[in-house]
Symmetry: C2
Amino acid sequence: MEQALKPADRLLHALADNRIAIEAVTPEIDGGRFPAKAAVGEVVVVEADIFSDGHDLIDAALLTRRKGDKAWSETPMRLYENDRWRASFVPVENTTYEYTVIAWRDLFRSWRSDVSKKKNAGQDVTSELKEGLHILKKALSESDRLDPERRARLQRVTEDIARLADPAQQFSVLMGEDLLGLMTAGGPRSNLSYYLRLLDLFVDRKRAAFSSWYELMPRSQSGDPARHGTFDDVIAQLPYVRDLGFDVLYFPPIHPIGKTNRKGRNNSLTARADDPGSPYAIGSEEGGHKAIHPELGTFEDFHRLVKAAAEHGLEIALDFAIQCSPDHPWIKEHPEWFDWRPDGTIRFAENPPKKYEDIVNVHFYRDAIPGLWHELRDTVLFWVEHGVKIFRVDNPHTKPLPFWEWMIAEVRRRHPDTIFLAEAFTRPKMMKRLAKVGFTQSYSYFTWRNNKAELTEYLTELTTEECRHFMRVNFFTNTPDINPFYLQNSGRAGFQVRLFLAATLATNYGIYSGYELCEAAAMPGKEEYLDSEKYEIRAWDWDRPGHIKDDVRRLNAWRRAHPALQQFTNLKFYNAYNDNILYYGKYTDDLSDFLLFAVNLDPLNAQGAQFEVPLWEFGLPDDAPIMAEDLVVDRRFTWQGKMQRVWLNPSERTYAAWRLISPQERLT
Amino acid sequence: MEQALKPADRLLHALADNRIAIEAVTPEIDGGRFPAKAAVGEVVVVEADIFSDGHDLIDAALLTRRKGDKAWSETPMRLYENDRWRASFVPVENTTYEYTVIAWRDLFRSWRSDVSKKKNAGQDVTSELKEGLHILKKALSESDRLDPERRARLQRVTEDIARLADPAQQFSVLMGEDLLGLMTAGGPRSNLSYYLRLLDLFVDRKRAAFSSWYELMPRSQSGDPARHGTFDDVIAQLPYVRDLGFDVLYFPPIHPIGKTNRKGRNNSLTARADDPGSPYAIGSEEGGHKAIHPELGTFEDFHRLVKAAAEHGLEIALDFAIQCSPDHPWIKEHPEWFDWRPDGTIRFAENPPKKYEDIVNVHFYRDAIPGLWHELRDTVLFWVEHGVKIFRVDNPHTKPLPFWEWMIAEVRRRHPDTIFLAEAFTRPKMMKRLAKVGFTQSYSYFTWRNNKAELTEYLTELTTEECRHFMRVNFFTNTPDINPFYLQNSGRAGFQVRLFLAATLATNYGIYSGYELCEAAAMPGKEEYLDSEKYEIRAWDWDRPGHIKDDVRRLNAWRRAHPALQQFTNLKFYNAYNDNILYYGKYTDDLSDFLLFAVNLDPLNAQGAQFEVPLWEFGLPDDAPIMAEDLVVDRRFTWQGKMQRVWLNPSERTYAAWRLISPQERLT
């Protein structure tokens, strides 16, 4: 029949397909231009508006598969409001998946619903029974979805009905639940319609979505400011980091450091002979991005460190910073990768009128394609071969977006478990675009969101707006570049507050070494550290008084123990009637892990508040009792009713955390 | 050079293109799946998020052309907030346009900005001047955007600068506005990037976006309920309709009416011998959708009517209702277009348990493709050839969406000036989808939006949300099917209120004959007319006491005279401190036509309110005086300050309308 059609009629048949409208699919990033993201084991929810002409009942399904596979897995979608349908699935492999949506008219269910209405209205349905039988016969002859066992059952039922003389008996069999199940599972799909877009979902390994970072400067790990730290010194420090509960250990660049225009202490323009220079001035006659700074050790030492870290449950993350010192070997070997001025000099990095004399930037276009692009990709692959799968990328927003899209895809094609963290602090749309083109994690504005309104607004955006499908923030409390004003003026309590926020609001978070010691000494008037490790070797007393290592251990332990803290978009803000107290919950879908957090954002004064225990989430009335567990002191108690009070004193502890115990759990 | 590249490198070059991110283009309907809409002469605003890596300045342009043309027209885009750019253009032809966005790095402007910052910081810019000269030379050698005159000027300036010995003089020429203009107009576009999607814009003729409809039943125009009205009776009525100020005259179906199961008066199941039947029961032995009901007249009469209407400034709109009476010739000629039951009977239209015994629906699939689809398209084309370009489509949401998309495209390919009004009162997403697939105008929920909150919310959605790009509502106050409860209980004032709302809130609006007479007699408890013209011939006294023809004339005159009333999305709600008084403004971009409207939604009681005169829209302080014109009494006066009072008494007039006169206009 199809063969006999004229071309114009074939076109019309093709246009007539897809009778069911399928639109507004989520996630769908920029019309399918970019993949959405998920992690292995995460529940991925797909929604769509689905509707058709007329009154017939429709049904829909989500199709998913690993990209490259032939067979689709099918998950039924369910209508949940105003023509909006929803299904979820759990990807199990660290690779790219694809998904789309199908829908069809369900003739049998439509018939069943109509007949039932007519019967209830007292109308004669004799003719309708014949139609029902007709649909069953059609299913037997047309459907390719009936397995032999179901086909046999359907055949039997159909024959039984045909044999029955009594319309009432026919009606009763035709309306049976068993037959409905058979027809839903195997009946024909009338006007089967496709969304006509295959959408990509990049599924990362779990650490992409849940990680706790600790950043340190390897050269400061000798315990002696006069001696350059080595990889072996870092190995000695591993038990300390692991004891704090982290799982990613991240180093700023470990490559040879340039000497030309080397920066001195506190970012001064002239270095003394013994100043080590900034590790971000990468490259010297000793090598570039594929070399190790000799004072840190050898590749052998590095391999030993990677292995020892793994034995401590720690994964090493390296910095990928593309700029070069003026001594970088590339400059001589590949002058075509740089921007030369008409006067024959090379252009230093600058953001006029600011100048960065110790580094030059590569030029990504003109004759730098393909050489530079290949070299940069190969640099990342080089470190992957040396055991590193996590890269914190320096200032990606000052390098071309197409480069990142290409490079990350190239690396992940070979090593899908590679993680890239974008260190971009720039305008919102650029930060989101970097996440879209492939960055696994993203630094965020968290560092500058201090008060209740700011935090609520920002976290609501991150957890509910479209970016939740592709951007995973990593909340760093501080970095070698950012000594936040809030911490400079808050004392120990402020460090507890910001740690608590980062570790409970975000699934990915990090601290930069010294944070646990409440290090806050700043360059006056700037958000920069005094005597920064970026320009000199420091030694630290890891037990110095006033530290908050207990808090760090506690929060990391909670994060490991509680599934609710391993999801990002499950955040809900609740009412606490004091603008200094931020109060929120995170819980798993089944309510089995229901956590509540309260934190006093005012590091200087005790604050109290009435707050609402969200009894309604358990379907309980406002005056019900509920058992709770204080996570800090590991004690159970009962709250009677919705309104409760909390008092948070910075001189004691600035935060509280509870787990609500559902009445069901209590009974078991 | 390009030729010499290896395939892999060519791919990399291609990937490296489009360095500038261009995203979130509006309008863009469903990722470009559907066209946006505009009308000839309307300002079309296109926006996009545009940004790039690094600090260089970028620039962008909107490209537009008639689909099929080769050359693009280019309109500069302007940054207006947070990486969001905007441009507008005015399409001049009733056809499909396409548009996209390009962006590039502006090397010269970037250089100019950097040098200026360095100079201001007291830095030496000697080397930068050389770079500037270099950019000019590059422009001369590379740019294909310089016309001969500009090239000559640039050549002259470049040579002048090279000759100048004094860096200060060089600086001054290089920074000159004249050179900037030259380089902006003709300089090279570095990293020229494309959005990579061509988006469609269907440009309708003006009436698609601005029309005033009057609906009447031709058979009720004889003035005698015992005599079937004719097209000649309608011709006699044309001066009346034109005097009211309408420009579209719309008839329910004019085709032969079936006799089988014909409905009697007031929708009764049995018709008396002289009952004319519902015009929606289309088709008898006298013909179907391409025939005229003999009692109305002949094709010759119809042609005379179309011509006479045009002479009165009125355009005829016909109904396109696909259902058939059981007597329709198609049933015998094309049984494959209908749904036959196993018992050999044809299925009547039904929405169980409701039945519509006088009509049957066609079946659009199976063997009805292509025959039925072609016949329906050809039916529309048939009436187009008989002078009709506007079709009100009955219940499109019960026919397949792909059919509409195909049929409307087929008709508009031949006659782009055809207008289709979708008579769908159904769920929101279906109503929007019908607009997306091609309907020119759409009936709306206006008929059931009565109070201030409802009207504000609904109009805000329509004028600000995405649907504004593709859905043009037509606010009918009433239809033969809808005698709204509000009007049944409101008296004459209610008719004024709803007329005023429809005519000032929407650019497309309509009334069904009798509205101007305040006809409200209803079937008890239903939103249906008593003794409906759908089932019997009526005669009307067009001057019967209590009519509101003066209001109709006035509102239609305002609509013709005021450009602000010919735009839809320029609506703004302002504050009037009484929930019974809806108060809003509409104005042209240049403020030359600034209208304010206040209406008392309570038809039974006088209401007063303080309201805010939007002085701020003119940049005036809250206590400034402003001259205004009362549109009803055509009188000028001065308001002193922002807060004013209005009093609207249903027994006098329920509405007020003013034009604010900008201080500029007053001076001229």
